[in-house]
Symmetry: C2
Subunit: 243 residues, 2 copies
Amino acid sequence: MQRSAFALGLPAIFPLAFSKPTEPNPNIPQGATILFQGDSITDAGRNRGAYYANNSRGMGGGYAFLAGARLLADNPGANLRIYNRGISGHKVFQLANRWEEDCLNLSPDVLSILIGVNDFWHTLSHSYKGTVKEYEADFRALLDRTMTAIPDVRLIICEPFAVEGGSAINDAWFPAFNAYRAAARTIAQEFKAEFIPYHGIFADALQSAPVSYWCPDGVHPSLAGAQLMADKWLETFGKLKWE
Amino acid sequence: MQRSAFALGLPAIFPLAFSKPTEPNPNIPQGATILFQGDSITDAGRNRGAYYANNSRGMGGGYAFLAGARLLADNPGANLRIYNRGISGHKVFQLANRWEEDCLNLSPDVLSILIGVNDFWHTLSHSYKGTVKEYEADFRALLDRTMTAIPDVRLIICEPFAVEGGSAINDAWFPAFNAYRAAARTIAQEFKAEFIPYHGIFADALQSAPVSYWCPDGVHPSLAGAQLMADKWLETFGKLKWE
């Protein structure tokens, strides 16, 4: 217990919350396959050999693990199959390179994609030469290919985010990075995807705790930040339309 | 999507739930330290080098990760410090061997312990010679020592469990294993701990999905089983009394 809280005259007792308001229950087809795709934020240290659906080691230690666990525990009769295929460091063109095996062959009913931070970041840190126009064009081509192969898939597009004050974020990020956020939003609208505005979600979270609490380097969420992401993801998942 | 569901005449649409009813908000001291102790179920593949509080890699891929993430995300101003110090394969005497470093030095405000399945299992699988009397006596001594060192600690004792039908569970387990469950419950009562009856919780869960869904080998929970555990843990955490 932090005794200094008393010395500073701060409240000794903090009202503790630990659950979320009940969400409306959507409907989902029996046996639906849900695929998380992206970069290190999705990967989150997953065991890539743990290939099969619903394997906790294969889900990593981030928002995909948290969202998947919640869906599975609350829907034991739904026969859901949940996969994480995020790979650390990837940009959108690298998703395209492995899309046949890591997306199309899994034939997802729900495809969630969080990609873009490396498309920008690596221009600063890895001498990557890609532009935001290429990011947007590659993302569009990836989704055109996806919708041709699996036209019934429901899409969740996650906004790439960078949390100001994080140790990896400097003045070079803004406003340049905002164009990547805008491109992801444009793509989501074009493909009638559900869009999760994570950049603003993290910015808002800074009102209750510092960047070190939610996302220390500004790119990779903490445990608290992963839960924040999972909660918004589940809320968004609930908005998907099913006939 | 599992097309066979249609062929079998099963419902194509499953009502999906993904959140829990709101729990009452307890109060907890600002800056409280919460420690998860136990064996492989708690360890869940954690990175033991990720020693500091609230580190997602250090929380493993089980119920401690899930419960910790929920507490941290929902209480950003509470300055909680959450540790996982479960170690795979451990029995209660092995907790005692590392108790100074892995419990007392952390000075937890909340101590959660799940221990006992190996105290029984290893008598079958590892020629371990310990008895249930030793388990109970060692557990009592461990908590006497704990309460002497940190008398204000709140205790959560988790019932050791074995899920019938799991691949590691055979006829040798019952009724012998029930004595370990009873010993843990006795200890919880003696020390006025909150007790989580996980054995029955998992048995009840079999009504909605088979053992392979919740706990394939009967000892180590799946992703769904870990969330089931975390939900009950959080519910129990909410019952702790704070002045």
